[in-house]
């Protein structure tokens, strides 16, 4: 379709009137891809009930236009209703590219819609590029982050991808541009096979600083050995106005503050200025999550711990010796001379 302006779509995610943090990231990247390829328009798709205020946010985050679909049936996410609306909108408008945030919801919705459209989907992409001819390059990781490859969807449209949270930066907000298109939800939902009913969505907003926002992350692994010692890590993180992170084994032991603090393949990808790892051996599932950290300092009593290979500074020592000293030294350093 050489005469038509190519469209890049970003599917927005909201819960109870709050945009998911990955949504501005996806929109920012869509905007950059549009600039790369030239002559593309960026649209956001927003589904929900009484979420009109968020449509303006999406324009400010880089969308040229927002397709707004509001209906009581869309108040709470479920894949039957959301999948139906998206599938029908995409079939009607035929965008070149459709991007989702690779959240739990996005990772369910994207393959659902891709199956209905019989098209290809890149999974939790860590990089995206768009050629002038419209071909999307999707960088993906596999095998716990140990293998990288690029995926392409040359023949089918749209090209779809879910985007790993934390990989792209949002654009600075720019108010007052773009247009909001209200869609008739009942038409988009008519005759749909609705088999699921979402009873409620419960959000348990965690206390403390989120890993994504922290300049310093103090992380612990299996080697920490118990809840008592874990408290020292939390104390150090607090002293540095940072966040506490963990590995899968530490999470499974129940020492940590919960799943939202897990770093790695099945957890978060983080980019602090400084990452301090204690008692972490460095399985690839964890280290792939810290590859974008500024400085990595690892403390482990085993000189052969694989984590040392991907650290900037290595301390071969028992963390029990280092942690208390480090706490008091930091407290001393913070007292103005």
């Amino acid at each position: 379709m050489p005469d038509r302006k190519r469209a890049l779509w970003a599917v927005a995610e909201q819960t109870r009137g709050k945009l998911a943090s990955v949504t501005p990231e996806v929109l920012g990247q869509a905007r950059r891809l549009a600039a790369e390829a030239g002559g593309c328009e960026v649209a956001a798709i927003l589904l929900g009930k009484d979420v009109g205020a968020l449509a303006k946010d999406l324009l400010a985050c880089g969308a040229d236009k927002v397709f707004l679909v509001e209906d009581p049936a869309l108040e709470l996410y479920q894949n039957d209703t959301y999948g139906t609306v998206l599938h029908r909108l995409i079939r009607r408008e035929q965008p070149e590219v459709v991007l989702f945030g690779a959240t739990a919801v996005g990772e369910e919705l994207a393959p659902t819609v891709a199956a209905r459209l019989d098209t290809g989907l890149g999974a939790h992409c860590t990089s995206l590029a768009l050629a002038p001819d419209g071909l999307l390059t999707m960088g993906v990781l596999g095998f716990g982050g140990r293998l990288h490859t690029e995926m392409f969807c040359p023949a089918r449209r749209p090209q779809m991808a879910s985007v790993k949270p934390g990989m792209f930066t949002p654009l600075p907000r720019e108010e007052g541009k773009g247009k909001i298109l209200r869609e008739e939800a009942s038409a988009l939902l008519s005759g749909a096979d609705i088999r699921l009913r979402t009873v409620r969505i419960v959000k348990e907003e965690p206390e403390g600083m989120p890993l994504e926002d922290a300049d310093v992350i103090v992380a612990g692994g299996w080697g920490i050995g118990g809840k008592e010692n874990w408290r020292l890590l939390t104390e150090l993180a607090r002293e540095l106005s940072g966040a506490t992170g963990c590995t899968r084994p530490a999470l499974d032991e129940g020492w940590t503050d919960g799943e939202h603090t897990m770093i790695g393949t099945s957890g978060k990808t983080v980019q602090p200025k400084v990452y301090l790892g204690f008692g972490i051996s460095g399985s690839p599932h964890h280290t792939v999550g810290i590859k974008d950290a500024g400085i990595i300092i690892s403390i482990n009593s085993d000189p052969r711990a694989p984590v040392f290979e991907c650290s900037d500074y290595c301390v071969e020592a028992d963390f029990r010796k280092i942690l208390p000293l480090l706490l008091s030294e930091i407290r001393r350093a913070k007292v103005p001379a």
Binding site: L76, Q78, D80, A104, V105, E107, P111, T112, A114, A115, G120, L121, T137, G142, F143, G144, G145, R146, L147, T149, E150, M151, F152, P154, A155, R156, R195, L196, R197, T198, V199, R200, I201, V202, K203, E205, P206, E259, T265, K273, V274, P284, H285, T287, V288, K291, F308, E309, C310, D312, Y313, V315, K321, I322, L325, L326, E329, I330, A333, K334
Partner: protein, 268 residues
């Protein structure tokens, strides 16, 4: 509610504990699998456990379905030893190079061939490719309700389903009814160990191998030809850093760390 026809999708994957030793063949650009034993995809064991618990409660049958080489029977023995009643391996050269949707097409054909089903369970994602697409796409292709990231699930006597699915910092509570396809997370249960009795019983359980023709899957629906996605070259990301060892007494080491923190401007 009568007995349940339960299907568990399983995938043999290279042992995840070997992934830091992964090598790529420089000549072919393909992954070298030697020295990486195949194991049941860890998340799939949780799907199987959930199926076995449902079978204990309602009665019925548990069939494992796997798109894999015929040699996968060895890996699937573990599932049979845990308590699955049979295994169906969907194996054909024509399936090679399938993307997640083509894989889901083959799996759906296998599920249909087994017969009517009440519930299809799968691990939410595989440890190797890990797209997490298959449960949703199988659900779409079978034309039934589907859920992913399931961490709790109750099947009522009338076939009603109440499930919890994990989302970031919370969960969704959702209701539906059988038939359904469900992708489970490891939090849902603790898979049982295999017993000696189980291992012995497994020897006599049927393992079927079905090819494209048996399944009525044609070349345009599976493998490279039936896939929208094309992979580029594999590479091994290099996460190595300088690895400077901080030497000296603990006090000296700690002072170095504080100096680094100060230089990075994070000392508050």
């Amino acid at each position: 509610m009568g007995e349940l026809n339960l299907v568990v999708l399983v995938k043999p994957v290279p042992d995840p504990s070997c992934y830091d030793r992964i090598e790529i063949d420089p000549a072919t650009g393909a992954l070298l699998r030697q020295g990486m034993p195949a194991v049941l995809n860890p998340a799939d064991k949780h799907a199987l456990e959930e199926a076995l618990v449902l079978k204990e409660r309602f009665g019925g049958r548990v069939a494992m379905v796997s798109m894999a080489p015929g040699s996968a029977s060895e890996t699937l023995m573990e599932g049979l030893a845990m308590g699955a009643d049979e295994a169906c391996i969907l194996s054909d050269r024509a399936f090679a190079g399938s993307d997640s949707l083509a894989t889901s097409r083959v799996l759906s054909a296998g599920i249909r061939k087994i017969g009517p089903f009440d519930l299809v369970l799968a691990g939410n994602e595989s440890a190797d490719g890990g797209t997490a697409h298959v449960p949703s796409q199988v659900g779409e292709l079978l034309g039934v309700a589907h859920l992913t990231n399931v961490i709790r699930m109750e099947v009522g006597p009338g076939g009603s389903v109440t499930a919890r699915t994990r989302i970031e910092n919370g969960y969704i509570e959702v209701r539906g009814s059988l038939p359904m396809v469900v992708g489970v997370r490891r939090e849902i249960n603790t898979p049982r160990y295999t017993s000696l009795m189980g291992v012995m019983a497994a020897q006599d359980k049927p393992i079927r191998v079905w090819g494209a023709e048996d399944l009525g899957v044609n070349a345009a629906e599976a493998g490279m030809e039936g896939s929208s996605m094309r992979p580029g070259r594999l590479s091994r990301p290099d996460y190595r850093r300088k690895g400077e060892i901080l030497k000296g007494s603990h006090e000296e080491t700690v002072r170095r760390i504080v100096a680094i923190l100060r230089a990075e401007g994070v000392l508050g």
